[in-house]
Symmetry: D2
């Protein structure tokens, strides 16, 4: 049986759930999981539905066309219907830090991530040996302030060539240009090494140490044009104390970065994240 994931959002209205579930009955689909949320302030309705299609004679394509013309049209929905068997293609952008890269490739090799990783892009050569070790094509796209546009162009061509669905910045340390952001809206995941909105920008562990906080954090979010201001996908924290140096903060933070980024990748790959008003709805 074909498994599907349906994501919907629209203005909140009476009868949406009834309409969608009736539609599923009509096309001989079973609901495996249904999650729904209403943002009362914004008056927006969100739904995520996992189902399976029991009649092989009714194709996914025909279901999509039918849904678009009836339900989606009536309720003015934004929606996507995914075939669960098709894994999204993910590009890794890295720079010199290796811990997130090791972690992601280890999980990928262990079969934990529901993605394909066709390639890695970096502005430095430092991490090429790791890409080689895991047999992932590595593309060196160096650039300076002066030729950043050319660098971006090269990145975009690679993303097209490999048909990349979403991008993960694994401690990439470079600011993404508006053009690339607009091509991958809510599809570029960054890991920031602080508990946002505390300590945005550079050297957050140093700032946290100076402030004398008792807890540090990490935040994964979608990249928008405002630095470290995009929709937050996941956050986690670790306790620190006076005995910890800045170096300890950085070391403890590595575990946070690894975990929080890996969770965000999983959530995104499993189509569990929806974005609205610079916030996320995350259906666990």
């Amino acid at each position: 049986m074909q498994k599907i994931t349906l994501l919907i959002h629209c203005k909140d209205q009476k009868g949406i759930i009834a309409a969608v579930t009736n539609f599923l009955v009509k096309v001989e689909g079973n609901i495996i999981y249904l999650d729904q949320h209403v943002d009362v302030e914004q008056n927006v309705f969100f739904m995520r539905l996992e189902g399976e299609l029991t009649n092989p004679l009714i194709s996914v394509a025909s279901i999509k066309a039918d849904f678009e013309q009836t339900i989606a049209h009536n309720f003015k929905m934004s929606w996507d219907l995914y075939n669960k068997e098709i894994k999204p293609k993910m590009a890794l952008f890295v720079s010199k830090y290796n811990h997130c890269l090791y972690d992601i490739l280890g999980r990928y090799s262990a079969g934990e991530l529901n993605v394909e990783i066709p390639m890695i892009i970096s502005n430095h050569l430092d991490l090429k040996p790791i890409a080689d070790q895991f047999n992932i094509p590595f593309h060196h796209v160096p650039f300076t302030k002066d030729n950043k546009i050319e660098g971006e162009q090269q990145q975009i061509e690679l993303l097209k060539k490999y048909e990349i669905n979403f991008i993960v910045l694994a401690r990439y340390m470079q600011i993404i240009t508006p053009r690339l952001i607009s091509l991958y809206e809510n599809k570029i995941i960054n890991i920031h090494h602080s508990f946002l909105p505390a300590f945005p920008g550079a050297k957050p562990y140093h700032s946290a140490f100076k402030r004398g906080v008792k807890i540090i954090g990490a935040t994964s979010h979608y990249v928008t044009e405002e630095l470290d201001e995009g929709p937050i996908i996941e956050q986690d924290i670790a306790r620190v104390s006076h005995i910890n140096s800045v170096e300890d903060f950085i070391m403890k933070g590595r575990d946070l970065e690894r975990l929080v980024l890996a969770r965000a990748i999983k959530l995104h790959a499993d189509r569990k994240v929806m974005v609205y008003s610079n916030k996320t709805v995350v259906f666990y």
Copy 2:
């Protein structure tokens, strides 16, 4: 507008969600929140729905009768429909420990708990002053091994008199008798001072200390005839280390007990807990 909470469980079947949501449309109700869960192993369907009724001419009583004869009958459902405005009546059973009692009555007075507390029962007089301080009727029901049955009878009469809906054992330290358990099935909440199933029974902090664990816990659960084996509602933990004595464990544990019990009370009072196969479905 009348707010309602609907809880359902039944054998998993095609079309349940569609039927229920269509029913809501029919009786002019809006769905505010819908949560659903399928226990795949047991093949059981669970649903919790919060809604509001927009037509004052359609009474809750008529809705209940209609639902029973149509949907509930067709799908062989176990179900309850609550009026959200009616607070459940909760009895507190205590013994000599005062910290959970202070915490619950403080929260109650601060308006945090969606319950009424018409009375407190204890086998000792130690905590009467606290009941007095908060103006809650306190009933002293002492008993020994030999007259436990009479004690239980007295408890049951008090529970009836006050029309108690559910019971909270706030470190009550006495074993509840099967008769009382059967009268309040899945309606007696206990707090056990360990991370069950580790350290059931007496003196769990001492056992945890002896074993050298690095984390202690507390568990709230419904009382069943098997001691500390009932359906778990909520658990939480705290870190300990070699510098902590048994007394430190006990002191840290008090915070866990307070919090975990208060959360369980809130979940139960808000009708967010369903029980099946000695496990709970908790719709947060």
Copy 3:
């Protein structure tokens, strides 16, 4: 046997620990616990020592005089030696929020806090019934923008009269004046309802909701003239998600505020906190 707590800080130098521990041997004291910390950046040494004096013929007063003239003088130490049996006197400042007040008075009544609470001060009468309920003198000190100086003067006189050692702002919601801060330097504990330095100032839960964070927090800190910028004593967090409204944030936050403030009070009362460079050394 007399139990003592010794707190020391001074420029880091060779031989401090040896000198202090030799001194203890000389005055026939046992070390029960010794914690020490060196702030490498600032080159400052911190020590906390719990001991017991075995010879009743050697008085605490003579030990203090001896220590001052020898060890403290040689190493140019700032230090304090406390008799563990003497509980510090704590004043509560409250306004209209009752949850922290209930929690603190419940813990106090349950014997969990190693303090005396001789009185409560408030600018409103709302919480007087709670003070009455727990039999704590309640002083109503109202003031407006125009007569804040007079209000402060009245507060200071009450603090003197009751010989208050430290002040706890239990959601007091008023800005403390520089004069009072200077009289109680590092002795006024505030609870801020966010994970500082994120969301300082007013309405942090609303800001956190707007930003779409996945974790909220609370922070207890000593009050300094810079609002929400004082040395952090303790922080904790709770997970939130898209299903939580601002009201849910506030409700979850109440538990954080209670816990984090109670921990800070305990740490301060047990003389486990030392302040330096706007940070705390907390010897757990």
Copy 4:
């Protein structure tokens, strides 16, 4: 300057800290960090001291001899003095699960672990490609119930040949024989995939699922002859709910296993763990 770590335990007596710190002064050493603990129940004193030797003319060997004949002899101490620059040699035992192996080798390659990993031993060939990928010698030591003694003998010879200091069972899934345990007492670290003492033995995630717990855990401990009963080094937990299947427990558990094992390795490698009465003193 030579950096050293000194670990001591002995019967608790007056004057130990003074004696040790005076000794450090005598051999021209600075104390960088000193942690001490007294197990009051057992009357045992523990100390961990990090220091640096400022006089290159006083050798570590002479310091050790001096310490043994004076301080250690007087107080009947068990003690070790480590040169911080010399990394312990760690052997990995694996079977078929790959996630802990990827994690450890990723951390090792990223320079996070203060160890050398000269080799990996496995009873299966499945993970050889990972060892190859990271260029670590892989020794296949298969055995059956009938020739377990020969297998063990081969393991012991490899451990000797590589001068292994401690062993890490990275989800090894085999019971270690008493002979090997006695050769590496408190030097074999296991990761158990439950919150011990809950769910010892096989299939803990399945048992946790069946019991309906709300939190799962992982435990790293030293291996003793009693299965899953050895001294606990570190534990951590993750929340689960009714929506999680056994497979979800297993997936979430992988993160716990990785983290908890990695922390235990770090603590052991940094000589921060001392064992006594089947418990650990962990100096963070």
